[in-house]
C-alpha cells in the first residue's frame, strides 16, 4: 500500500516545482553527525551534539528521553520543520537539509505524516474534511479526496463517524482521525509526537495497537516520541536520547559518537 499508488499522486498538478524524485530505497532516514544549536540571546543551547541514525523501511521506532534530551528537536528536523545547524539528513536518499521552505512543504505533504499529542484537528470541520486537508495542497480532485479520506478512515476504524466534528468525538477517536490524516497521502514515514500523551491508558493501548497494525500489516514506517516505557514497548526498536546524544539503541547501532 505504501509504494504502489505513489506514481499517480506524483503527477498531481498543484505543485509545479517538484524536488527530484527520491529513490525509494529501503533506507528511509539516514542522519550523519547532526548538530543543532539554538541561540537564545548570548546563550547557546546545544540541543543535538552529533547524531547518527539510520531507519529502514518498515521499522517502528520509539524515541525516548527526558524533556530537554533533544528528542523534540530531532522530531522537528525529521519532519522538515527545522533545519540542522550542521550534519546531513537524507530522506529516502535525498539530502533534504538544503531544500527551500516550499520544497519542505512539498515533502511534508507527500512523504511525512504527522500525529501530534494534541491531535491538531481543525475545529468546526468534520472528520472526513480534516482527513482531506493534506490533499487540498496537492491538487487531488474533490471526488478522489473524499474517496481516499473515507478509505483511510475505514482503515483506522472510524468510517461510521466520518461526518462528526472533532468536539463530538472522544480523544481516542480524534487521534484516529489525525492518524487517518497522516496516512492519506501515502507517506514514507509517520512521525508521532507523544500521540498518547492526552489519552487514558485503555485508549492509549488501542492507539498503539492501531500503530502496530499499520506497521505490521501495511508496512508503514513509524517514528514515535514518548517518555513512557509502556508505550515504547509497542515499538520494535527503542532509541533513548540524553543531552543531545543517543545513549542507547535497541537495534544495537553504534551509540553516541562524539
Amino acid at each position: 500500500m505504501a509504494s504502489e499508488p505513489q506514481q499517480e499522486f506524483d503527477q498531481a498538478p498543484a505543485i509545479q516545482k517538484s524536488p527530484p524524485v527520491a529513490d525509494r530505497s529501503e533506507t528511509v532516514i539516514r542522519i550523519r553527525d547532526l548538530h543543532k544549536i539554538y541561540k537564545m540571546g548570548d546563550v547557546e543551547v546545544h540541543a543535538l551534539r552529533g547524531i547518527h541514525l539510520t531507519i529502514q523501511r518498515g521499522e517502528f521506532v520509539a524515541v525516548m528521553g527526558a524533556s530537554g534530551s533533544g528528542k523534540s528537536t530531532i522530531m522537528n528536523i525529521l519532519g522538515c520543520l527545522d533545519r540542522p545547524t550542521s550534519g546531513s539528513y537524507f530522506l529516502e536518499g535525498q539530502d533534504v537539509s538544503a531544500l527551500s521552505a516550499d520544497e519542505w512543504a512539498h515533502i511534508r505533504n507527500r512523504r511525512i505524516g504527522f500525529v501530534f499529542q494534541g491531535f491538531n484537528l481543525l475545529q468546526r470541520t468534520s472528520a472526513v474534511e480534516n482527513v482531506e486537508l493534506p490533499m487540498m495542497y496537492n491538487g487531488v480532485s474533490a471526488k478522489e479526496r473524499r474517496a481516499r479520506a473515507l478509505r483511510v478512515l475505514e482503515l483506522v476504524g472510524l468510517a461510521e463517524r466520518c461526518h462528526h466534528l472533532p468536539n463530538q468525538l472522544s480523544g481516542g477517536q480524534q487521534q484516529r482521525v489525525a492518524i487517518a490524516r497522516s496516512l492519506v497521502n501515502q507517506p514514507s514515514l509517520i512521525l508521532a509526537d507523544e500521540p498518547t500523551g492526552n489519552l487514558d491508558t485503555k485508549t492509549s493501548e488501542e492507539i498503539m495497537v492501531l500503530f502496530q497494525n499499520l506497521n505490521g500489516q501495511e508496512g508503514i514506517t513509524i517514528v514515535l516520541v514518548t517518555h513512557e516505557p509502556d508505550i515504547a514497548a509497542y515499538a520494535k526498536r527503542r532509541i533513548v536520547f540524553r543531552d543531545g546524544l543517543i545513549i542507547s539503541d535497541s537495534a544495537g547501532e553504534a551509540a553516541a559518537a562524539p
Partner: protein, 384 residues
C-alpha cells in the same frame, strides 16, 4: 482550495457589518432633472421708490409687443411667449379649487414642451379674440371633475366663464417640488383683460434655436429691448434676462458638490472599512495560528496560506460591497419616492464600487495574509 478558502471566509463575514453600510454611500449619485438649457426668461426691471427698491419684476415695462418683436426680429429665437401668472379660485358648479392661472401664447406649448392629452392647445385665434377658453392640468381636472371628462365644460375664474378646450399632459413635480400639473392655462390676452385687468405682462419666456445660441439670443434681446424701451446708452436696463441654463448649471454644480461630498465620505468609509478588514484579519490570523500551523504541517506552502487569507479578505470586502450596492439601490429608490428627489443608478458606478471594495480587500488583506504566511510552523503548532 479556493472554494475551501471561500467557505471559511464566509463564516467570518458575519462579523463585519459596518463597512457594508458605509460602502453604499459611494454608489448614490444624484442627477438633476433636465431643465431646458436653451430657455431665457425676461423679467421687468426693478422700481426704486424713495430709496426702496422693489424686487425683480416690479416694473410694468414689458408688453406683448416686446414678445412679438423678439420672436420676429431675432433669428436665433425659436419662440417667445408672454407669461402672466396669478393664483385664483376656479369654480365649477359646487366645486372650487385654488390654482395658478397662467396666461400664455400658442408658442408656450413648444417652449416648455407641454403635451396636450385631450382637446387642443391655445391658438393664435384665441389670443386675437381674447377668447374665454382654458386648458386644465391633470391635478385641476382631477380635483374639479374627478373621473368626468372636463373638455367642453365651463369653469369660472373671477366670475368670468371659460370653456375648457383641452387637458394638459402630466408633467409631474418640478425640481423644487411644486406640482406642475396644478395649473390652468388661458390666452395671455384673456388673462390680461378678463382676469388680471392689466396692460403689461409679467415675463417673456424665450426659447433659443439651440443651447449654443442661448447666449447670443440673450445679447440680441437685450439690445432689442433697450432700443424698444428707448434706454439711453449708459442707463440701466429696465428688464432682466435670466438664463435658465444658469439655473440648471447651478443645480448641477450643487449636485457635483453633493457627489464630491458623498464620494469623500465613501472614500473615508472605504479606508475605515479597509482598516476594519485588516484588523479583523489580523485577529483572525492570531486566533487561527494553530490552524495555520496544522495546514503548514500537512503541506501548505507560505503562498497557499497567503492566498487563503487574501481570498477571505476579498470575499468579506466584496460581500460588503454587494450588500452596500443593494442597500444603495434600495435607499436610492426610497429617496426617489419619499423625498421626490430625482436619483439615478448608474451600472458603471455599481461595477466600480464592486471592484473598489474587492480591491480594498486585496489591499488591506495583504499585510495580515503575509503575516500568516511567514509564521514558523513549529511555533504555530505549539500556539495555545
Amino acid at each position: 482550495m479556493l472554494i475551501m478558502a471561500f467557505r471559511i471566509a464566509l463564516r467570518a463575514l458575519a462579523r463585519n457589518k459596518l463597512r457594508s453600510f458605509l460602502t453604499m454611500l459611494g454608489i448614490m449619485q444624484e442627477q438633476i432633472a433636465s431643465l431646458g438649457t436653451n430657455l431665457l426668461v425676461i423679467l421687468p426691471g426693478t422700481v426704486t421708490l424713495g430709496g426702496a427698491r422693489s424686487g425683480s419684476g416690479g416694473r410694468q415695462s414689458l408688453i406683448p409687443a416686446d414678445a412679438r418683436a423678439i420672436m420676429n426680429e431675432i433669428p436665433v429665437v425659436a419662440g417667445a411667449s408672454p407669461v402672466l401668472r396669478q393664483g385664483q379660485q376656479v369654480i365649477v358648479g359646487d366645486q372650487n379649487w385654488g390654482t395658478s392661472i397662467q396666461g400664455v401664447a400658442p408658442e408656450f406649448q413648444q417652449i416648455r414642451d407641454w403635451q396636450v392629452r385631450e382637446g387642443r392647445f391655445i391658438n393664435q385665434a384665441d389670443v386675437d379674440s381674447t377668447a374665454k377658453v382654458a386648458l386644465v392640468g391633470e391635478t385641476v381636472a382631477y380635483n374639479l371633475f374627478g373621473e368626468d371628462d372636463p373638455v367642453g365644460a365651463v369653469i369660472r375664474i373671477k366670475k368670468v366663464p371659460f370653456r375648457i378646450i383641452g387637458i394638459l399632459g402630466a408633467k409631474g413635480q418640478s425640481g423644487n417640488g411644486t406640482d406642475q400639473d396644478d395649473v390652468v392655462m388661458v390666452p395671455y390676452t384673456s388673462m390680461m383683460k378678463l382676469v388680471m385687468g392689466v396692460t403689461y405682462i409679467q415675463q417673456i419666456i424665450v426659447a433659443a434655436v439651440s443651447a449654443d445660441t442661448t447666449q447670443e439670443a440673450s445679447t440680441q434681446i437685450a439690445a432689442l429691448l433697450r432700443q424698444r424701451h428707448k434706454i439711453r446708452p449708459g442707463a440701466d436696463d429696465d428688464f432682466t434676462i435670466r438664463n435658465l441654463s444658469d439655473i440648471a448649471e447651478a443645480a448641477s454644480n450643487s449636485a457635483t458638490v453633493m457627489a464630491v461630498l458623498l464620494g469623500s465620505i465613501a472614500s473615508v468609509s472605504l479606508i475605515v472599512g479597509g482598516i476594519g478588514i485588516m484588523n479583523i484579519m489580523l485577529v483572525s490570523v492570531t486566533e487561527r495560528t494553530r490552524e495555520i500551523g496544522i495546514r503548514m504541517a500537512v503541506g501548505a506552502r507560505g503562498r497557499d496560506i497567503m492566498l487563503q487569507f487574501i481570498v477571505e479578505a476579498v470575499v468579506m470586502a466584496a460581500s460588503g460591497g454587494v450588500i452596500g450596492i443593494l442597500v444603495g439601490i434600495g435607499s436610492s429608490n426610497l429617496i426617489k419616492y419619499l423625498a421626490a428627489l430625482p436619483t439615478l443608478i448608474r451600472p458603471e458606478i455599481i461595477a466600480i464600487s464592486f471592484l473598489v471594495s474587492g480591491s480594498v480587500g486585496v489591499f488591506f488583506g495583504f499585510y495580515p495574509a503575509r503575516k500568516a504566511s511567514k509564521l514558523d510552523p513549529i511555533d504555530a503548532l505549539r500556539y495555545e
